[in-house]
Structures are given as C-alpha cells and as structure tokens.
C-alpha cells in the first residue's frame, strides 16, 4: 500500500515536472524563437517591434525554468544532480546565453549603438536554444550513466543524434517565434513571419521524422516500447497527431489564421513531447534511472504538492492575466515607458 502511494505520488510529480517543462518549452520557446528571428531582421524598427512584443512577458516565461529546476531538485534530486553534472558544458553555455539575452532587453534600450546588442540578443537566443536541444538529446541518449556509475564523461552528451535533436528543438522554437509574431504584428513584419513559419515548419517535420527514425533504430528501449502492442499504439497515435497538426498548420498559414497557426505549432510540440515521454517511460535518464528510483520520499512529495502543485492553477491564472493585459498587436508609439 505504501509502495503504491509512493508510486502514485512519484508519477504525479513526473506529470507536474512534465507540465512545467512543456510550458517552459512553449513559452520561452517562442521567446527564444523571436530572438533567433532577430538575426534575420535588418530593419531597426522591426527589431524594436519584436523586442517590444517580448518586453512584458520574457521574465515570466523564463521563470518557468526556475520553477522547473527547483521542483526537479526537490522531487527527483537524483536526476537533478546526475543530469546537471553530466550536462555541465551545455548547461553553462545555456546559462551564459540566457545572461546575455536577459540583459539585452534593458541594455539595448539604453545603448547608443544598438548593433552589438542586436547581435548579442540574436546569437544568445540561438545558442540557448541549441544548448537546450543538445542537452535534451544527450539526456534521452542516456548520458553514459549506468545504475552503478552515476558519473558519465562530461562530453557524453555530444553525439550526432543530440546534434540532430538540437537542430529540431531550435527549428521548433523558431516556428513558435514566427507564429507568435504573426499574432503580435501586422504588415510587412507579419508577412515575413508567415514565410519564416512555413520554412521552419517544413524543416521541423523533416527533422522530427529523422529523429524518430534514428531513436527507434539506435535506442533499443525506445524501439521495444514502439514494438510493444499497447504503448506502440499510443506512440503511433501521437506521431499521427503531430503529422495532422503539421497539415492543419499549413492550412492555417495559407488561410492567414493567426491564433490557429500558434495553436497547431503548439500541438506539434505537445505530440512530440508526449511521444518522447511515452517512449522512455518510466525512465528519467534512459535507461538507468527510473522516476521511482529518483523520487524523494512520499512525505516530501506530499509537502511539495501542497506548496507547489496546488499553486500551479494560481500561477496559470495570473500569468494568463498578464498575457491578457498585453493582448493585441504591438504598437511602437504606445506610451508606456
């Protein structure tokens, strides 16, 4: 009975961590994506609009990462510790990139010469996306961790597969960024974002297919999960959902639907994210550390549920309210600052 309760709690926390990661990936994903698209913009006024579309929400988006880190640390300390140590290099690169990106918002505003900050903002967004992608690719490849040895080589994450995942994640963020700009802008910049969304979406679906094929070919556990009748069906379902979302996305772009473009981009992420989760479940570090193995005691998980889990709906409400306050197209002449 105790074991069942513990297992239930560990799974609930696995779900919450998954939700936090998903929210972070979507929210900071489009945020980073807009940053990447900064590199493809030469017009200073367009850059100002792109920046303004993020200024009121970037901090809230990034804070999901802080919440995710703390929650993972408390609920699955083993995963937090082993994973971060093994991912030292990409994590540091991501942190340095996020530092430059974060200060660029204010520093660019006050700098007389904006060029270095434009470059810093674009490059650090790109670098942070690549670092997150390669870290994630390294994590699902197992990081060289075994049940008896928690210390992988610090370069274990660096493989062709993780490089491909990094490209996939970065392209996905770019798609989200373009979809966000379609909602927040109009005119020339919106038209450009539509073209960029097309390109990113097509690249994304190609990369995803490649990632899935590689994962099922080179990762025996993932392949076995797919071969399994029951989980295999679910995996099929989510792959089909991803493809369906891609088709709907193309349709939305063609028809010029703004919100739907963003919605179907999110569904592509949701479907791939769920497929990866099912494909490696119950492993948090495949295939050495399971979620039960890594979970804190039931007492901690319950205490965390009371202080964090119950607050999630509240967080969603006030975060949503902030988005609501700043809804609508971005106008540069609006006097706020």
């Amino acid at each position: 009975m105790d074991n069942e309760i513990h297992s239930l709690l560990a799974n609930i926390w696995f779900l919450i961590i998954g939700l936090m990661l998903f929210l972070y990936v979507i929210l900071d994903g489009f945020d980073l994506g807009v940053g990447i698209l900064f590199l493809f913009t030469k017009d200073e006024k367009q850059r100002a609009i792109m920046m303004k579309s993020l200024e009121s929400i970037w901090d809230a988006n990034e804070t999901w990462l802080v919440l995710l880190g703390g929650s993972l640390f408390g609920a699955f300390p083993l995963v937090f510790a082993i994973m971060l140590q093994a991912l030292y290099i990409p994590v540091m690169v991501m942190l340095f990139a996020l530092i430059f990106r974060g200060v660029a918002f204010e520093f660019r505003h006050y700098a007389r010469n904006k060029a270095p900050w434009n470059l810093a903002f674009g490059c650090s967004s790109l670098l942070a996306s690549l670092a997150q992608g390669i870290a994630f690719g390294g994590l699902i490849s197992g990081l060289g961790i075994t049940e008896s040895n928690y210390q992988g080589n610090v370069w274990e994450w660096f493989t062709p597969f993780s490089a491909l995942v990094a490209l996939g994640v970065t392209t996905g963020y770019t798609l989200l960024g373009a979809a966000y700009l379609i909602i927040k802008t109009e005119g020339a910049i919106q038209r450009k974002s539509i073209v960029q969304a097309y390109i990113a979406a097509i690249l994304e679906i190609i990369l995803m297919i490649m990632i899935v094929i590689l994962a099922s070919r080179f990762n025996p556990y993932f392949a076995a999960r797919w071969a399994d009748k029951e989980t295999g069906n679910y995996l099929d379902l989510f792959v089909i959902l991803a493809v369906f979302a891609f088709i709907m996305l193309m349709w939305a772009l063609r028809r010029g639907f703004e919100l739907r473009t963003f919605f179907w981009s999110v569904i592509i992420f949701l479907a791939s994210f769920t497929a990866v989760t099912i494909g490696y479940y119950p492993y948090m570090i495949p295939v050495s550390i399971t979620l039960i193995h890594a979970a804190s005691s039931s007492k901690t998980l319950i205490f965390m549920l009371a202080g964090i889990g119950l607050l999630i709906p509240v967080m969603l409400v006030y975060s949503g309210y902030q988005y609501l306050v700043f809804r609508g197209k971005v106008h540069l002449d609006e006097h706020t600052n």
Binding site: G70, E106, F107, F326
Partner: protein, 455 residues
C-alpha cells in the same frame, strides 16, 4: 598555486563569485520595490503628481537592476547540480524542496506581475497597478525568506536525519524554523531595506547638491531619512542579536569572527581583539590590540561569560581565512555605525528645520556623506555574506557534510573555463550596468510626465 589546480576549490570560487555577484541586485530589487509601493500609494492617496513621477523614475533603475538580478540568479540554482551534485543528491528532499517553494511562491509571483508593473500603467486601472507593484514586492521579499530558510538550514540543520547518506525530513516545521532562520531572514531583509534607502537618499542628495529639481528630490530624500530612522536601529539590533546567536549555535564561526583562539578560564573574561593578525599554524594571533572582558560581554552579556576558542576544535574543523572573516565582520559593523551616525546627523538637521529647499544646499558635507553612503550597504552585505559563508567552512552543512564531500567530480579544465567565463562576463555586466545607470541618473526624471487618471 597548487590550490588553483583543485577542481573543488575552483567550484567553491565559482560559487562565491556567482553568489556574491548575484546578491548585489536583489538587495535593491527587494528594497526599491517596497519604496515604489510607497510612492505609488502616496500618489493614489494624496494626488501629488510628484509621487507618481518618483514612482516612474525609480522604476527605471529598478528594472535595469532587476534584469541583471534575474539572469545572475539562474546560474546559482543550476550550480547546485552542476558543481555540487553530491550535495544535491544528499539534500534534495529538503533543500531542493525549498528552492521549488521559492520558485512557486516568490519568483513566479514576481515575474507574473512585473510586466504589468513596468509596462501596464495605461493598460490597467491604478488600483490593479498598485496590486501588481505590491505582488512584485511580495514576491521579492518571499524570495529572501525562502532562500534564507535554505541557507540558514545549512548553518543550523534541524528537523532531519540521515538515511543511506540522504537527508530525510522528520519535521518540516523544525527544519524551516531552524535556529538561525529568524536571524538570517530578518538581517538579510533589513539589509535590503537599508541598502535601498541609502541608495535612494544618496542619489537624491546628488541631485540636490547639483541643484537639480531640489523640491522634487527633497521628497525622496526625506522618505529615505524617515525609512532609515526606523530601519537602521532595527538592523543594528538584528546584527547584534545574530552575532550572539552565532556564539551559541556555531561556536567555531563565532571564535573565527573575533579571532579568539583560547577559551577563557572560569572567572576571567574573554578579551576582545579590536585589530589583530592571525597565525593559523601557531594557533594564535601574531599581534593584537585587545580590550579585556569585552568579548565576554558582547557574546554572553556577562563580564566573565565563557566564550569557546578556536583551539577547542581540531584544526580540520576550524574555519579557514580567519583574517578575512575577522575584518569582513568589522567592516560590516563600522558601516552599520556610519549609517546610524548619518541618520542621526540628518535627523538633527531636519529637527532644526534645515531640510528645506532654501537651506539644504548649505549642508554640503551632509549631502556628500549621503552620496558616499550609496555603495556602503552593498559592501556591508558582501562582508556579512563572507562572514556567514566562509565562517561556516569547512562545512557546507554545519557539522553534517564537509564542502569537500559535496562537490561534483569534474575535470579541472571544465570548471576553470566556466569560472573564467563567469568572471569576465560578470565584470563586463557590472561596468555596463554602471554606465547605463549613470545615463538614467544624469538624464533625471521626466517632470512633464502626466499621470493616468487616479480612478
């Protein structure tokens, strides 16, 4: 330097660099946000448009400061895993849990209302805007609470036992309300208020001295003074009480703060070192200027109270760098006293009716003193943090886990590279921050800014 070839030492150095850089920014985020609430509230209550313009002006410095604070805080959370993975595996059940609480209750709240506070003036009614500013303030202060809960638990761990080398919580209440917690939280929170008040007061003094909008800045100057009248004495009391608490619960740290090597014999008071230079090898001070019995009085309140000396602990359990701890502590105390003196001096001038637009210009020395006090709060806090953290060594969790046993196993080159990168990036950010802050300050407030309707 062989010590620089030790990855664990480099990890410690990196954590020290990143933590000491980060702490600079929340000091003003926490204090300044509260001051912004006051200005905004005053504007809504009195309708004096200057208060609105104050709120808008200081908010510019607030957000510049905030952005550096946010991005320098992120690495700290991740470093627990990257550089201190054995600490994280062992303590996640409590320490990680508390960091999760901090994220959920403090940072999310702060970030969820920051956008409205900074950019929403014309998009929400004033009451909602005040609520947003209030929530940012609450979030910032709650982050002080939770991070100091976590840190104070490392100073005086309680409410847990070890099982298979892992922390298991017996009582959350005891762990959260550990002995050091009230002092750690309050002393740090008041450090934020004190620093911010002297920053606002000092900058206002600069404008007054330059004869720029004297009327306008006299308002913020007086506000800073009124704040200081309450906050400075409380902070000095909290500092004194925290100090006495250290002698009880972390005697080795207490002895290191005072470079007190030998326990005083019964019936004889412990002498207090005003200045000294320690000799760790000989376990005594090379020289010292001492005052008899004073340490007994300071630590115990009794003329002959017993104060444990460093030699009571094996050398392996003594804090390192006694001189650093000893002098950091003294710098902090001197700054506290300087704040008190400056506050009383200004209060006296006020009571004599000299803080008016006509006569304040004559108090040039007073205004210079306020300007000089701008960096002092930061300096005092850094010194306090050194005392707190270096004084806890060689333990990362006092008496439970040695710092050496808490580190990740990492190649030297990797840690050295990230350490150098942090030093280079943070130094540049610091310089850039000062440059941009100087631009905001020299441009000054927009006194033509029309406020939105108060209803």
């Amino acid at each position: 330097m062989t010590i620089l070839q030790d990855p664990v030492f480099l990890s410690r150095l990196q954590f020290a660099v990143t933590a000491m850089f980060h702490i600079l920014w929340p000091l003003t985020t926490v204090g300044l946000s509260l001051i912004l609430v006051v200005f905004e509230g005053l504007w809504l209550k009195t309708g004096d448009v200057d208060h609105y313009r104050h709120a808008r002006f200081w908010a510019k410095l607030f957000v510049l400061n905030f952005s550096v604070g946010v991005i320098s805080g992120l690495p700290l959370e991740f470093e627990f895993g990257t550089n201190w993975s054995r600490f994280s595996m062992m303590t996640g059940e409590f320490f990680g849990n508390i960091l999760g609480y901090e994220g959920a209750m403090a940072f999310m709240l702060e970030a969820g209302f920051l956008g409205i506070m900074l950019f929403g003036w014309l998009r929400v009614p004033p009451a909602i805007h005040l609520l947003a500013t209030g929530m940012v303030t609450l979030g910032a202060s709650l982050s002080v609470f939770w991070i100091l809960v976590a840190n104070s638990w490392m100073q005086t761990p309680a409410g847990i036992h070890l099982e298979n080398n892992k922390v298991v919580v017996d009582s959350y209440f005891e762990a959260i309300f550990n002995k050091n917690m009230p002092w750690g939280v309050l002393h740090t929170w008041f450090a934020c208020l004190t620093t911010s008040l002297f920053v606002i007061g000092g900058l206002s003094a600069w404008y007054i001295l330059k004869n720029r909008n004297t009327d306008f800045f006299l308002k913020s100057f007086k506000l800073a003074l009124i704040g200081a009248i309450f906050v400075v004495p409380i902070q000095i009391y909290l500092g004194d009480a925290s100090g006495r608490h250290v002698f009880v619960n972390q005697p080795a740290k207490g002895a290191a703060i005072e470079a007190h090597w030998t326990t005083n014999q019964e019936g004889k008071g412990a002498e207090w070192n005003l200045l000294m230079w320690p000799n760790e090898n000989d376990q005594k001070n090379d020289w010292a200027i001492t005052l008899p019995n004073v340490l007994s009085v300071l630590a115990t309140g009794d003329l002959h109270g017993q104060v444990k000396g460093l030699t009571l602990f094996p050398q392996a359990d003594q804090p390192p760098a006694i001189a650093l701890i000893f002098y950091s502590f003294r710098i902090m105390v001197v700054i506290g006293m300087a704040f008190l003196g400056l506050m009383l001096w200004t209060l006296l001038a006020w009571l004599r009716g000299q803080l008016t637009p006509a006569s304040i210009g004559k108090h040039r020395l007073l205004l210079y003193a306020w300007i000089a006090s701008i960096p002092l709060g930061y300096l005092a806090t850094e010194c306090g943090w050194i005392v707190r953290e270096v004084g806890r060594q060689p333990w990362v969790i006092y008496g439970l886990l040695r710092t050496r046993d808490a580190a990740s196993t990492l190649p030297l080159s990797v840690v050295a590279t990230s350490l150098v990168a942090f030093v280079v990036i943070y130094s540049s950010l610091f310089i850039l921050f000062l440059m941009f802050a100087a631009r905001i300050i020299s441009k000054g407030p927009d006194l033509s800014l029309a406020p939105p309707s108060r209803r």
